[in-house]
Protein backbone atom coordinates (compact mmCIF):
# COMPACT_ATOMS: atom_id res chain seq x y z
CA UNK A 1 0.00 0.00 0.00
CA UNK A 2 1.41 3.37 -0.93
CA UNK A 3 1.09 6.44 1.23
CA UNK A 4 -0.42 9.66 -0.04
CA UNK A 5 3.08 11.13 -0.32
CA UNK A 6 4.22 8.24 -2.46
CA UNK A 7 1.22 8.50 -4.77
CA UNK A 8 1.84 12.22 -5.06
CA UNK A 9 5.45 11.53 -6.07
CA UNK A 10 4.24 9.15 -8.75
CA UNK A 11 1.83 11.74 -10.11
CA UNK A 12 4.68 14.28 -10.23
CA UNK A 13 6.86 11.74 -11.99
CA UNK A 14 4.25 11.11 -14.66
CA UNK A 15 3.60 14.77 -15.33
CA UNK A 16 7.20 16.01 -15.13
CA UNK A 17 8.48 13.40 -17.51
CA UNK A 18 5.36 13.55 -19.63
CA UNK A 19 4.84 9.80 -19.32
CA UNK A 20 1.95 7.87 -20.72
CA UNK A 21 1.45 6.34 -17.35
CA UNK A 22 2.87 4.25 -14.55
CA UNK A 23 1.49 1.23 -12.77
CA UNK A 24 2.72 0.09 -9.35
CA UNK A 25 1.68 -3.01 -7.45
CA UNK A 26 2.67 -3.89 -3.90
CA UNK A 27 1.34 -6.45 -1.48
CA UNK A 28 -1.83 -7.04 -3.44
CA UNK A 29 -2.63 -3.35 -4.07
CA UNK A 30 -2.35 -1.79 -7.49
CA UNK A 31 -2.07 1.91 -8.36
CA UNK A 32 -2.28 3.03 -11.97
CA UNK A 33 -1.62 6.62 -12.96
CA UNK A 34 -2.37 7.68 -16.50
CA UNK A 35 -0.70 10.70 -18.07
CA UNK A 36 -1.58 12.55 -21.30
CA UNK A 37 -3.76 14.51 -21.22
CA UNK A 38 -4.23 14.84 -17.44
CA UNK A 39 -3.09 12.36 -14.82
CA UNK A 40 -5.90 10.43 -13.15
CA UNK A 41 -5.46 8.12 -10.23
CA UNK A 42 -7.29 4.83 -10.06
CA UNK A 43 -6.68 2.64 -7.06
CA UNK A 44 -8.03 -0.85 -6.98
CA UNK A 45 -7.42 -3.85 -4.81
CA UNK A 46 -7.89 -6.94 -6.87
CA UNK A 47 -5.03 -9.04 -5.61
CA UNK A 48 -3.59 -9.32 -9.10
CA UNK A 49 -0.08 -10.20 -10.07
CA UNK A 50 2.32 -7.58 -8.77
CA UNK A 51 5.27 -6.07 -10.54
CA UNK A 52 8.56 -6.47 -8.78
CA UNK A 53 9.29 -3.48 -6.56
CA UNK A 54 9.56 -0.74 -9.15
CA UNK A 55 12.41 1.57 -9.91
CA UNK A 56 10.43 4.77 -9.36
CA UNK A 57 12.07 7.07 -6.80
CA UNK A 58 9.77 5.95 -4.02
CA UNK A 59 10.97 4.52 -0.74
CA UNK A 60 9.71 0.97 -0.58
CA UNK A 61 12.37 -0.77 1.45
CA UNK A 62 11.45 -1.99 4.92
CA UNK A 63 13.30 -0.20 7.71
CA UNK A 64 16.27 -2.29 8.76
CA UNK A 65 15.04 -4.22 11.79
CA UNK A 66 16.60 -3.21 15.08
CA UNK A 67 19.80 -5.05 15.80
CA UNK A 68 20.00 -6.79 12.42
CA UNK A 69 22.13 -6.19 9.38
CA UNK A 70 20.48 -4.71 6.32
CA UNK A 71 18.38 -7.23 4.43
CA UNK A 72 20.36 -9.20 1.91
CA UNK A 73 17.84 -8.81 -0.90
CA UNK A 74 18.08 -5.44 -2.69
CA UNK A 75 14.64 -3.94 -2.92
CA UNK A 76 14.90 -0.63 -4.79
CA UNK A 77 17.51 -0.51 -7.57
CA UNK A 78 18.88 2.93 -8.41
CA UNK A 79 17.87 2.67 -12.04
CA UNK A 80 14.87 0.85 -13.39
CA UNK A 81 15.41 -2.86 -14.13
CA UNK A 82 14.55 -4.05 -17.65
CA UNK A 83 11.05 -5.09 -16.60
CA UNK A 84 10.12 -1.71 -15.20
CA UNK A 85 11.70 0.15 -18.11
CA UNK A 86 9.52 -1.92 -20.41
CA UNK A 87 6.46 -1.07 -18.32
CA UNK A 88 7.14 2.62 -18.53
CA UNK A 89 7.31 2.48 -22.31
CA UNK A 90 3.83 1.04 -22.61
CA UNK A 91 4.73 -2.56 -23.30
CA UNK A 92 2.56 -5.32 -21.93
CA UNK A 93 4.22 -7.80 -19.59
CA UNK A 94 3.20 -11.42 -19.67
CA UNK A 95 3.85 -12.96 -16.27
CA UNK A 96 4.14 -16.55 -15.15
CA UNK A 97 0.93 -17.85 -13.55
CA UNK A 98 2.79 -20.67 -11.79
CA UNK A 99 6.08 -21.67 -10.23
CA UNK A 100 8.34 -23.83 -12.36
CA UNK A 101 11.11 -24.04 -14.91
CA UNK A 102 10.89 -21.91 -18.07
CA UNK A 103 11.47 -23.56 -21.44
CA UNK A 104 11.33 -21.67 -24.71
CA UNK A 105 10.95 -24.83 -26.82
CA UNK A 106 8.51 -27.75 -26.59
CA UNK A 107 11.46 -30.13 -26.29
CA UNK A 108 15.27 -29.87 -26.11
CA UNK A 109 15.92 -30.38 -29.84
CA UNK A 110 12.82 -28.59 -31.14
CA UNK A 111 12.69 -25.02 -32.39
CA UNK A 112 11.67 -22.37 -29.88
CA UNK A 113 7.99 -21.44 -29.79
CA UNK A 114 8.79 -17.82 -30.58
CA UNK A 115 11.70 -15.42 -31.07
CA UNK A 116 12.07 -11.74 -30.34
CA UNK A 117 10.39 -9.81 -33.14
CA UNK A 118 7.73 -12.48 -33.83
CA UNK A 119 4.14 -11.38 -34.15
CA UNK A 120 1.88 -13.38 -31.82
CA UNK A 121 -1.85 -13.70 -31.35
CA UNK A 122 -3.90 -14.03 -28.18
CA UNK A 123 -4.06 -17.71 -27.21
CA UNK A 124 -0.84 -18.61 -28.99
CA UNK A 125 1.54 -20.81 -26.98
CA UNK A 126 4.72 -18.86 -26.21
CA UNK A 127 6.59 -21.14 -23.84
CA UNK A 128 6.41 -23.93 -21.32
CA UNK A 129 6.68 -23.65 -17.56
CA UNK A 130 7.36 -27.08 -16.19
CA UNK A 131 6.47 -28.09 -12.66
CA UNK A 132 6.56 -31.57 -11.21
CA UNK A 133 7.10 -33.14 -14.62
CA UNK A 134 3.98 -31.42 -15.96
CA UNK A 135 4.54 -29.24 -19.01
CA UNK A 136 2.26 -26.22 -18.74
CA UNK A 137 1.84 -24.33 -21.98
CA UNK A 138 1.74 -20.59 -21.41
CA UNK A 139 -0.46 -18.70 -23.86
CA UNK A 140 -0.25 -15.10 -24.90
CA UNK A 141 -3.05 -12.94 -23.50
CA UNK A 142 -2.60 -10.23 -26.13
CA UNK A 143 -1.98 -9.75 -29.86
CA UNK A 144 1.33 -8.07 -30.56
CA UNK A 145 5.04 -8.33 -31.21
CA UNK A 146 7.48 -10.00 -28.82
CA UNK A 147 9.89 -7.28 -27.74
CA UNK A 148 11.76 -9.16 -25.04
CA UNK A 149 12.13 -12.60 -23.48
CA UNK A 150 13.18 -12.28 -19.85
CA UNK A 151 14.13 -15.69 -18.47
CA UNK A 152 16.92 -17.81 -19.90
CA UNK A 153 15.99 -21.27 -21.11
CA UNK A 154 15.69 -23.74 -18.18
CA UNK A 155 15.62 -20.94 -15.63
CA UNK A 156 13.32 -21.29 -12.59
CA UNK A 157 10.53 -18.73 -12.49
CA UNK A 158 8.15 -17.79 -9.73
CA UNK A 159 4.50 -16.77 -9.70
CA UNK A 160 4.16 -13.31 -11.25
CA UNK A 161 7.63 -13.25 -12.76
CA UNK A 162 7.74 -11.41 -16.12
CA UNK A 163 8.28 -13.79 -19.04
CA UNK A 164 7.72 -11.66 -22.12
CA UNK A 165 7.28 -8.01 -23.06
CA UNK A 166 4.75 -7.61 -25.86
CA UNK A 167 4.20 -4.48 -27.90
CA UNK A 168 0.48 -4.47 -28.44
CA UNK A 169 -1.01 -3.66 -31.82
Amino acid sequence: MLTFEQIKELIDLVSERDLQGVEVERSGFRVKIEGRPAPTVDTSTDGKVPASIDGAPVSTTPAAPAGGTAPAVAETPAEASPEEAADLEGLHLLRSPIVGTFYISPSPDADPYIRVGDRVKRGQVLCIVEAMKLMNEIESDEDGVIEKVFPKNAQPVEYGEPLFAVRQE
Binding site: P65, I98, V99
Partner: protein
Amino acid sequence: MFKKVLIANRGEIALRIVQACRELNIETVAVHSTADDDSLHVTYADEAICIGPPPSNQSYLNVSSIIAAAEVTGADAVHPGYGFLAENAAFAEVLGECNLAWIGPSPESIRMMGDKSKARRAAAEVGVPVLPGSQEPLADFSEAQSVAEKVGYPVILKASAGGGGRGMRIVQDRESLETQFSTASEEALKAFGDGSIYLERFLVEPRHIEFQIFGDQFGNVVHLGERECSIQRRHQKLVEEAPSTALTPALREEMGRAAVDLATAASYVNAGTVEFLLDHDGRFYFMEMNTRIQVEHPVTEIVTGLDLVKMQLEVAAGDRLTVPNGLTARGHAIECRINAEDPDRFTPSPGAITTFHPPGGPGIRVDTHAYEDYFIPPYYDSLLAKLIAFGQNRQEAIARMERALDFFVVEGVGTSIPLHQRILRDSRFRAGNLSTRFMERLLESEANRSQSAASSV
Protein backbone atom coordinates in the same frame (compact mmCIF):
# COMPACT_ATOMS: atom_id res chain seq x y z
CA MET B 1 21.15 -32.97 8.38
CA PHE B 2 19.13 -31.31 5.66
CA LYS B 3 20.86 -28.98 3.24
CA LYS B 4 17.90 -26.86 2.35
CA VAL B 5 14.51 -26.49 4.05
CA LEU B 6 11.49 -24.94 2.42
CA ILE B 7 9.22 -23.13 4.86
CA ALA B 8 5.59 -23.62 3.90
CA ASN B 9 4.22 -20.84 6.07
CA ARG B 10 4.38 -17.13 6.74
CA GLY B 11 4.55 -14.54 9.47
CA GLU B 12 6.29 -15.00 12.79
CA ILE B 13 6.54 -18.78 12.65
CA ALA B 14 8.20 -18.68 9.24
CA LEU B 15 10.78 -16.29 10.65
CA ARG B 16 11.21 -18.56 13.67
CA ILE B 17 12.00 -21.48 11.38
CA VAL B 18 14.45 -19.38 9.35
CA GLN B 19 16.24 -18.58 12.61
CA ALA B 20 16.49 -22.23 13.66
CA CYS B 21 17.76 -23.24 10.22
CA ARG B 22 20.33 -20.45 10.23
CA GLU B 23 21.71 -21.68 13.55
CA LEU B 24 22.00 -25.19 12.13
CA ASN B 25 23.59 -23.97 8.88
CA ILE B 26 20.63 -25.12 6.84
CA GLU B 27 19.74 -23.06 3.78
CA THR B 28 16.21 -21.73 3.71
CA VAL B 29 13.60 -21.20 1.01
CA ALA B 30 10.70 -18.89 1.79
CA VAL B 31 7.58 -19.38 -0.29
CA HIS B 32 5.16 -16.51 -0.16
CA SER B 33 2.13 -14.90 -1.69
CA THR B 34 2.39 -11.54 -3.42
CA ALA B 35 0.96 -9.92 -0.29
CA ASP B 36 4.05 -11.05 1.62
CA ASP B 37 6.69 -9.74 -0.80
CA ASP B 38 8.02 -7.48 1.97
CA SER B 39 7.66 -9.97 4.75
CA LEU B 40 10.58 -10.35 7.12
CA HIS B 41 11.00 -14.09 6.64
CA VAL B 42 11.20 -13.51 2.88
CA THR B 43 13.91 -10.93 3.47
CA TYR B 44 15.99 -13.17 5.72
CA ALA B 45 15.57 -16.52 3.95
CA ASP B 46 18.37 -17.49 1.58
CA GLU B 47 15.92 -17.82 -1.31
CA ALA B 48 12.36 -16.71 -1.85
CA ILE B 49 9.81 -17.95 -4.35
CA CYS B 50 6.51 -16.22 -4.94
CA ILE B 51 3.91 -18.96 -5.22
CA GLY B 52 0.65 -17.13 -5.80
CA PRO B 53 -1.72 -14.24 -5.20
CA PRO B 54 -2.83 -13.28 -1.67
CA PRO B 55 -5.69 -15.73 -1.02
CA SER B 56 -4.40 -18.64 1.05
CA ASN B 57 -5.99 -21.31 -1.10
CA GLN B 58 -4.01 -20.02 -4.08
CA SER B 59 -0.76 -19.62 -2.19
CA TYR B 60 -0.04 -21.06 1.26
CA LEU B 61 -2.49 -23.91 0.74
CA ASN B 62 -1.52 -24.45 -2.88
CA VAL B 63 0.22 -27.82 -2.72
CA SER B 64 1.41 -27.97 -6.33
CA SER B 65 2.87 -24.47 -6.12
CA ILE B 66 4.76 -25.35 -2.98
CA ILE B 67 6.12 -28.56 -4.40
CA ALA B 68 7.11 -26.81 -7.63
CA ALA B 69 8.99 -24.27 -5.52
CA ALA B 70 10.76 -27.11 -3.67
CA GLU B 71 11.68 -28.60 -7.01
CA VAL B 72 13.14 -25.50 -8.62
CA THR B 73 15.13 -24.62 -5.51
CA GLY B 74 16.33 -28.13 -4.77
CA ALA B 75 15.00 -28.14 -1.21
CA ASP B 76 15.22 -31.50 0.54
CA ALA B 77 12.76 -30.92 3.38
CA VAL B 78 9.63 -28.92 4.13
CA HIS B 79 8.67 -27.38 7.47
CA PRO B 80 4.93 -26.62 7.60
CA GLY B 81 4.89 -24.43 10.74
CA TYR B 82 1.41 -24.30 12.33
CA GLY B 83 -1.96 -23.81 10.62
CA PHE B 84 -2.12 -23.95 6.80
CA LEU B 85 -0.90 -27.43 5.76
CA ALA B 86 0.74 -28.35 9.07
CA GLU B 87 -1.83 -31.03 9.92
CA ASN B 88 -2.64 -32.06 6.37
CA ALA B 89 -1.79 -35.75 6.14
CA ALA B 90 -2.30 -35.80 2.36
CA PHE B 91 0.28 -33.03 1.95
CA ALA B 92 2.77 -34.97 4.08
CA GLU B 93 2.18 -38.01 1.90
CA VAL B 94 2.64 -36.12 -1.37
CA LEU B 95 5.93 -34.76 -0.08
CA GLY B 96 7.07 -38.29 0.65
CA GLU B 97 6.21 -39.34 -2.89
CA CYS B 98 8.28 -36.42 -4.20
CA ASN B 99 11.24 -37.46 -2.02
CA LEU B 100 10.94 -34.42 0.20
CA ALA B 101 11.33 -34.88 3.95
CA TRP B 102 8.46 -33.74 6.15
CA ILE B 103 9.31 -31.97 9.42
CA GLY B 104 6.53 -33.48 11.47
CA PRO B 105 4.81 -36.71 12.48
CA SER B 106 3.79 -39.45 10.07
CA PRO B 107 0.64 -39.06 7.97
CA GLU B 108 -0.86 -41.96 9.96
CA SER B 109 -0.35 -40.15 13.27
CA ILE B 110 -1.80 -36.96 11.82
CA ARG B 111 -4.88 -38.83 10.60
CA MET B 112 -5.37 -40.73 13.82
CA MET B 113 -5.24 -37.65 16.01
CA GLY B 114 -7.08 -35.46 13.52
CA ASP B 115 -10.20 -37.57 13.91
CA LYS B 116 -11.57 -36.61 17.32
CA SER B 117 -13.44 -39.85 17.97
CA LYS B 118 -10.45 -41.97 16.85
CA ALA B 119 -8.22 -39.94 19.12
CA ARG B 120 -10.57 -40.38 22.08
CA ARG B 121 -10.78 -44.12 21.46
CA ALA B 122 -7.01 -44.36 21.30
CA ALA B 123 -6.78 -42.43 24.56
CA ALA B 124 -9.31 -44.67 26.28
CA GLU B 125 -7.43 -47.76 25.07
CA VAL B 126 -4.22 -46.72 26.81
CA GLY B 127 -6.06 -45.72 29.96
CA VAL B 128 -6.00 -41.97 29.43
CA PRO B 129 -9.14 -40.45 30.99
CA VAL B 130 -11.65 -39.16 28.47
CA LEU B 131 -14.58 -36.89 29.32
CA PRO B 132 -17.29 -39.39 30.13
CA GLY B 133 -20.69 -39.28 28.56
CA SER B 134 -23.17 -41.07 26.35
CA GLN B 135 -21.72 -41.69 22.91
CA GLU B 136 -25.13 -42.02 21.27
CA PRO B 137 -28.31 -40.06 21.94
CA LEU B 138 -30.19 -41.26 25.00
CA ALA B 139 -33.17 -43.49 24.38
CA ASP B 140 -35.19 -42.32 27.34
CA PHE B 141 -35.03 -40.90 30.84
CA SER B 142 -34.04 -44.18 32.47
CA GLU B 143 -30.99 -44.48 30.21
CA ALA B 144 -30.19 -40.84 30.97
CA GLN B 145 -30.39 -41.67 34.65
CA SER B 146 -28.04 -44.65 34.49
CA VAL B 147 -25.52 -42.87 32.28
CA ALA B 148 -25.59 -39.84 34.58
CA GLU B 149 -24.94 -42.07 37.58
CA LYS B 150 -21.95 -43.59 35.85
CA VAL B 151 -20.64 -40.28 34.60
CA GLY B 152 -21.12 -38.35 37.81
CA TYR B 153 -22.83 -35.01 38.46
CA PRO B 154 -22.98 -32.27 37.38
CA VAL B 155 -23.83 -33.29 33.84
CA ILE B 156 -24.72 -31.30 30.78
CA LEU B 157 -27.57 -32.30 28.50
CA LYS B 158 -26.95 -31.45 24.86
CA ALA B 159 -29.32 -31.55 21.92
CA SER B 160 -27.85 -33.82 19.25
CA ALA B 161 -29.16 -31.46 16.57
CA GLY B 162 -27.99 -28.39 18.43
CA GLY B 163 -24.63 -26.70 18.31
CA GLY B 164 -22.78 -23.49 18.90
CA GLY B 165 -23.81 -23.49 22.54
CA ARG B 166 -27.51 -23.88 21.81
CA GLY B 167 -29.70 -26.59 23.29
CA MET B 168 -27.63 -27.17 26.41
CA ARG B 169 -28.82 -27.62 29.98
CA ILE B 170 -26.73 -28.12 33.05
CA VAL B 171 -28.04 -30.60 35.62
CA GLN B 172 -26.52 -30.23 39.06
CA ASP B 173 -27.86 -33.35 40.77
CA ARG B 174 -29.92 -36.51 40.24
CA GLU B 175 -33.06 -34.94 41.70
CA SER B 176 -33.24 -32.35 38.92
CA LEU B 177 -32.51 -34.77 36.11
CA GLU B 178 -36.06 -35.91 35.34
CA THR B 179 -37.57 -32.47 34.81
CA GLN B 180 -34.50 -31.13 33.05
CA PHE B 181 -34.42 -34.09 30.72
CA SER B 182 -38.06 -33.78 29.60
CA THR B 183 -37.78 -29.99 29.23
CA ALA B 184 -34.60 -30.34 27.24
CA SER B 185 -36.14 -32.88 24.87
CA GLU B 186 -39.21 -30.70 24.28
CA GLU B 187 -37.09 -27.61 23.67
CA ALA B 188 -34.84 -29.48 21.28
CA LEU B 189 -37.79 -30.82 19.37
CA LYS B 190 -39.28 -27.34 19.03
CA ALA B 191 -36.00 -25.59 18.20
CA PHE B 192 -34.26 -28.15 15.99
CA GLY B 193 -37.02 -30.54 15.00
CA ASP B 194 -35.13 -33.31 16.74
CA GLY B 195 -35.68 -34.08 20.40
CA SER B 196 -32.74 -36.42 20.91
CA ILE B 197 -30.45 -35.59 23.77
CA TYR B 198 -27.05 -36.85 24.81
CA LEU B 199 -25.19 -36.29 28.01
CA GLU B 200 -21.69 -35.44 29.19
CA ARG B 201 -19.91 -34.79 32.43
CA PHE B 202 -20.02 -31.03 32.99
CA LEU B 203 -16.79 -29.45 34.11
CA VAL B 204 -17.56 -26.42 36.22
CA GLU B 205 -14.37 -24.40 35.99
CA PRO B 206 -11.99 -26.38 33.83
CA ARG B 207 -8.48 -25.30 33.05
CA HIS B 208 -6.95 -25.91 29.65
CA ILE B 209 -3.67 -27.69 30.36
CA GLU B 210 -1.60 -29.01 27.49
CA PHE B 211 1.56 -31.08 27.51
CA GLN B 212 4.40 -30.68 25.05
CA ILE B 213 5.57 -34.07 23.83
CA PHE B 214 8.35 -35.05 21.50
CA GLY B 215 9.04 -38.34 19.76
CA ASP B 216 12.02 -39.50 17.70
CA GLN B 217 12.38 -42.04 14.95
CA PHE B 218 13.73 -44.61 17.44
CA GLY B 219 10.49 -44.88 19.40
CA ASN B 220 11.53 -42.59 22.25
CA VAL B 221 8.75 -40.31 23.46
CA VAL B 222 9.16 -37.69 26.20
CA HIS B 223 7.07 -34.93 27.67
CA LEU B 224 8.54 -31.50 28.35
CA GLY B 225 6.00 -30.26 30.85
CA GLU B 226 2.76 -28.39 30.59
CA ARG B 227 1.42 -25.07 29.45
CA GLU B 228 -1.61 -23.39 31.01
CA CYS B 229 -3.76 -21.92 28.24
CA SER B 230 -7.06 -21.18 29.99
CA ILE B 231 -7.20 -17.53 29.02
CA GLN B 232 -9.11 -17.76 25.75
CA ARG B 233 -11.70 -15.74 23.98
CA ARG B 234 -13.92 -17.70 21.61
CA HIS B 235 -11.42 -20.54 21.70
CA GLN B 236 -8.58 -18.23 20.68
CA LYS B 237 -5.76 -18.28 23.22
CA LEU B 238 -4.67 -14.88 24.51
CA VAL B 239 -2.24 -15.65 27.32
CA GLU B 240 -0.28 -18.82 28.00
CA GLU B 241 2.13 -19.73 30.77
CA ALA B 242 4.40 -22.44 32.05
CA PRO B 243 4.31 -24.05 34.51
CA SER B 244 0.67 -24.12 35.60
CA THR B 245 -0.14 -22.96 39.12
CA ALA B 246 -2.73 -25.74 39.38
CA LEU B 247 -0.40 -28.73 39.00
CA THR B 248 1.21 -30.52 41.92
CA PRO B 249 4.29 -32.59 41.06
CA ALA B 250 2.17 -35.74 41.39
CA LEU B 251 -0.52 -34.46 39.03
CA ARG B 252 2.12 -33.30 36.58
CA GLU B 253 3.67 -36.72 36.58
CA GLU B 254 0.30 -38.40 36.08
CA MET B 255 -0.78 -36.13 33.24
CA GLY B 256 2.66 -36.23 31.65
CA ARG B 257 2.59 -40.01 31.69
CA ALA B 258 -0.86 -40.01 30.08
CA ALA B 259 0.39 -37.70 27.33
CA VAL B 260 3.44 -39.88 26.68
CA ASP B 261 1.33 -43.06 26.70
CA LEU B 262 -1.01 -41.62 24.09
CA ALA B 263 1.82 -40.36 21.87
CA THR B 264 3.58 -43.71 22.15
CA ALA B 265 0.41 -45.54 21.14
CA ALA B 266 0.30 -43.32 18.05
CA SER B 267 3.99 -44.06 17.28
CA TYR B 268 4.38 -40.33 17.39
CA VAL B 269 7.47 -38.69 15.92
CA ASN B 270 8.48 -35.02 16.24
CA ALA B 271 6.70 -32.26 18.17
CA GLY B 272 3.14 -32.60 19.39
CA THR B 273 0.81 -31.34 22.09
CA VAL B 274 -1.74 -33.29 24.13
CA GLU B 275 -4.58 -31.13 25.44
CA PHE B 276 -6.43 -31.85 28.67
CA LEU B 277 -9.21 -30.23 30.64
CA LEU B 278 -8.45 -30.12 34.34
CA ASP B 279 -11.41 -29.96 36.65
CA HIS B 280 -11.35 -28.07 39.95
CA ASP B 281 -11.27 -31.38 41.81
CA GLY B 282 -7.99 -32.38 40.20
CA ARG B 283 -9.44 -34.81 37.70
CA PHE B 284 -8.23 -34.43 34.13
CA TYR B 285 -9.67 -35.50 30.81
CA PHE B 286 -8.13 -35.85 27.35
CA MET B 287 -9.55 -33.38 24.84
CA GLU B 288 -7.43 -33.59 21.70
CA MET B 289 -3.91 -33.85 20.32
CA ASN B 290 -2.30 -31.31 18.02
CA THR B 291 0.17 -32.87 15.62
CA ARG B 292 2.35 -29.81 14.99
CA ILE B 293 4.51 -27.18 16.69
CA GLN B 294 2.24 -24.71 18.46
CA VAL B 295 2.10 -20.94 18.60
CA GLU B 296 2.89 -20.91 22.33
CA HIS B 297 5.95 -23.16 22.12
CA PRO B 298 8.25 -20.35 23.41
CA VAL B 299 7.02 -20.63 26.99
CA THR B 300 8.14 -24.26 27.07
CA GLU B 301 11.44 -23.33 25.42
CA ILE B 302 12.16 -20.73 28.06
CA VAL B 303 11.44 -22.83 31.13
CA THR B 304 13.28 -25.88 29.75
CA GLY B 305 16.12 -24.11 27.94
CA LEU B 306 15.42 -26.11 24.77
CA ASP B 307 15.00 -24.99 21.18
CA LEU B 308 11.97 -26.95 20.01
CA VAL B 309 12.19 -25.93 16.36
CA LYS B 310 15.82 -27.02 16.13
CA MET B 311 14.78 -30.28 17.78
CA GLN B 312 12.12 -30.69 15.10
CA LEU B 313 14.74 -30.39 12.38
CA GLU B 314 17.15 -32.70 14.18
CA VAL B 315 14.56 -35.40 14.86
CA ALA B 316 13.31 -35.25 11.28
CA ALA B 317 16.89 -35.65 10.08
CA GLY B 318 17.18 -38.85 12.12
CA ASP B 319 18.81 -37.69 15.34
CA ARG B 320 18.01 -39.42 18.60
CA LEU B 321 16.30 -37.42 21.35
CA THR B 322 18.73 -36.70 24.18
CA VAL B 323 16.43 -34.73 26.46
CA PRO B 324 15.17 -36.59 29.54
CA ASN B 325 11.48 -37.23 30.11
CA GLY B 326 9.60 -34.80 32.33
CA LEU B 327 12.24 -32.08 32.46
CA THR B 328 11.51 -29.87 35.46
CA ALA B 329 10.62 -26.30 34.57
CA ARG B 330 13.04 -23.64 35.76
CA GLY B 331 11.38 -20.34 36.62
CA HIS B 332 8.13 -19.13 35.10
CA ALA B 333 7.23 -17.88 31.62
CA ILE B 334 4.16 -16.02 30.37
CA GLU B 335 3.29 -15.28 26.76
CA CYS B 336 0.88 -12.65 25.45
CA ARG B 337 -0.34 -13.03 21.89
CA ILE B 338 -0.36 -9.46 20.64
CA ASN B 339 -2.92 -9.25 17.84
CA ALA B 340 -3.43 -6.44 15.34
CA GLU B 341 -7.00 -5.72 16.24
CA ASP B 342 -9.37 -3.06 17.45
CA PRO B 343 -8.97 -3.26 21.25
CA ASP B 344 -12.69 -2.88 21.95
CA ARG B 345 -14.36 -4.69 19.08
CA PHE B 346 -11.75 -7.42 18.60
CA THR B 347 -12.01 -6.90 14.83
CA PRO B 348 -8.77 -7.26 12.83
CA SER B 349 -6.77 -4.09 12.21
CA PRO B 350 -4.65 -4.50 9.08
CA GLY B 351 -2.67 -1.61 7.65
CA ALA B 352 0.67 0.15 7.90
CA ILE B 353 2.63 0.11 11.14
CA THR B 354 3.98 3.63 11.51
CA THR B 355 5.89 3.13 14.74
CA PHE B 356 7.18 -0.16 16.08
CA HIS B 357 9.33 -0.38 19.17
CA PRO B 358 9.25 -3.76 20.91
CA PRO B 359 10.41 -4.01 24.54
CA GLY B 360 13.68 -5.58 25.61
CA GLY B 361 15.55 -5.83 28.84
CA PRO B 362 15.90 -8.74 31.26
CA GLY B 363 13.68 -11.76 30.72
CA ILE B 364 11.91 -10.48 27.63
CA ARG B 365 11.60 -12.30 24.32
CA VAL B 366 9.66 -10.99 21.33
CA ASP B 367 8.80 -13.29 18.41
CA THR B 368 7.51 -11.12 15.60
CA HIS B 369 7.63 -10.62 11.87
CA ALA B 370 6.49 -7.01 12.18
CA TYR B 371 8.66 -3.91 11.80
CA GLU B 372 8.21 -0.19 11.28
CA ASP B 373 6.64 0.61 7.89
CA TYR B 374 5.44 -2.99 7.56
CA PHE B 375 2.03 -3.23 5.98
CA ILE B 376 -0.09 -5.89 7.67
CA PRO B 377 -1.97 -7.65 4.88
CA PRO B 378 -5.68 -8.19 5.45
CA TYR B 379 -5.70 -11.75 4.11
CA TYR B 380 -4.30 -13.71 7.02
CA ASP B 381 -4.51 -14.00 10.78
CA SER B 382 -4.01 -10.99 13.02
CA LEU B 383 -1.15 -12.28 15.18
CA LEU B 384 1.33 -9.44 15.28
CA ALA B 385 3.83 -10.48 17.92
CA LYS B 386 4.35 -12.96 20.74
CA LEU B 387 5.60 -11.22 23.85
CA ILE B 388 7.16 -13.61 26.33
CA ALA B 389 8.31 -12.68 29.83
CA PHE B 390 10.42 -14.93 32.01
CA GLY B 391 11.11 -14.65 35.72
CA GLN B 392 12.46 -16.71 38.57
CA ASN B 393 8.88 -17.11 39.73
CA ARG B 394 5.40 -16.18 38.55
CA GLN B 395 5.44 -12.88 40.37
CA GLU B 396 8.56 -11.73 38.60
CA ALA B 397 7.27 -12.96 35.23
CA ILE B 398 4.09 -10.90 35.77
CA ALA B 399 6.08 -7.80 36.77
CA ARG B 400 8.29 -8.15 33.71
CA MET B 401 5.31 -8.72 31.41
CA GLU B 402 3.57 -5.61 32.73
CA ARG B 403 6.70 -3.54 32.25
CA ALA B 404 7.18 -4.95 28.75
CA LEU B 405 3.57 -4.29 27.73
CA ASP B 406 3.94 -0.70 28.90
CA PHE B 407 7.11 -0.27 26.85
CA PHE B 408 5.76 -1.91 23.66
CA VAL B 409 5.00 0.89 21.18
CA VAL B 410 2.88 0.07 18.14
CA GLU B 411 1.25 2.86 16.16
CA GLY B 412 -0.70 2.83 12.93
CA VAL B 413 -2.78 -0.22 13.81
CA GLY B 414 -4.85 -1.21 16.80
CA THR B 415 -3.46 -3.91 19.07
CA SER B 416 -4.59 -6.10 21.93
CA ILE B 417 -1.92 -4.60 24.22
CA PRO B 418 -4.53 -2.70 26.30
CA LEU B 419 -6.51 -5.92 26.72
CA HIS B 420 -3.41 -7.80 27.83
CA GLN B 421 -2.62 -5.05 30.32
CA ARG B 422 -6.10 -5.47 31.82
CA ILE B 423 -5.69 -9.24 32.00
CA LEU B 424 -2.36 -8.93 33.79
CA ARG B 425 -3.83 -6.42 36.29
CA ASP B 426 -6.81 -8.64 37.08
CA SER B 427 -6.75 -9.93 40.65
CA ARG B 428 -7.87 -13.42 39.65
CA PHE B 429 -5.09 -13.65 37.10
CA ARG B 430 -2.53 -12.50 39.62
CA ALA B 431 -3.78 -15.05 42.14
CA GLY B 432 -3.56 -17.79 39.52
CA ASN B 433 -7.31 -18.46 39.62
CA LEU B 434 -7.71 -19.38 36.02
CA SER B 435 -10.28 -21.32 34.09
CA THR B 436 -11.65 -21.31 30.56
CA ARG B 437 -14.31 -18.92 31.82
CA PHE B 438 -11.72 -16.29 32.76
CA MET B 439 -12.17 -14.01 29.74
CA GLU B 440 -15.94 -14.25 29.88
CA ARG B 441 -15.80 -13.18 33.54
CA LEU B 442 -13.32 -10.40 32.90
CA LEU B 443 -15.29 -8.87 30.03
CA GLU B 444 -18.51 -9.24 31.99
CA SER B 445 -17.16 -7.46 35.08
CA GLU B 446 -15.74 -4.70 32.88
CA ALA B 447 -19.12 -4.25 31.20
CA ASN B 448 -20.88 -4.17 34.59
CA ARG B 449 -18.42 -1.65 35.96
CA SER B 450 -18.86 0.71 33.03
CA GLN B 451 -22.63 0.32 33.20
CA SER B 452 -22.78 1.18 36.90
CA ALA B 453 -20.36 4.05 36.35
CA ALA B 454 -22.64 5.39 33.61
CA SER B 455 -25.78 5.03 35.69
CA SER B 456 -24.22 6.71 38.71
CA VAL B 457 -23.43 9.82 36.67
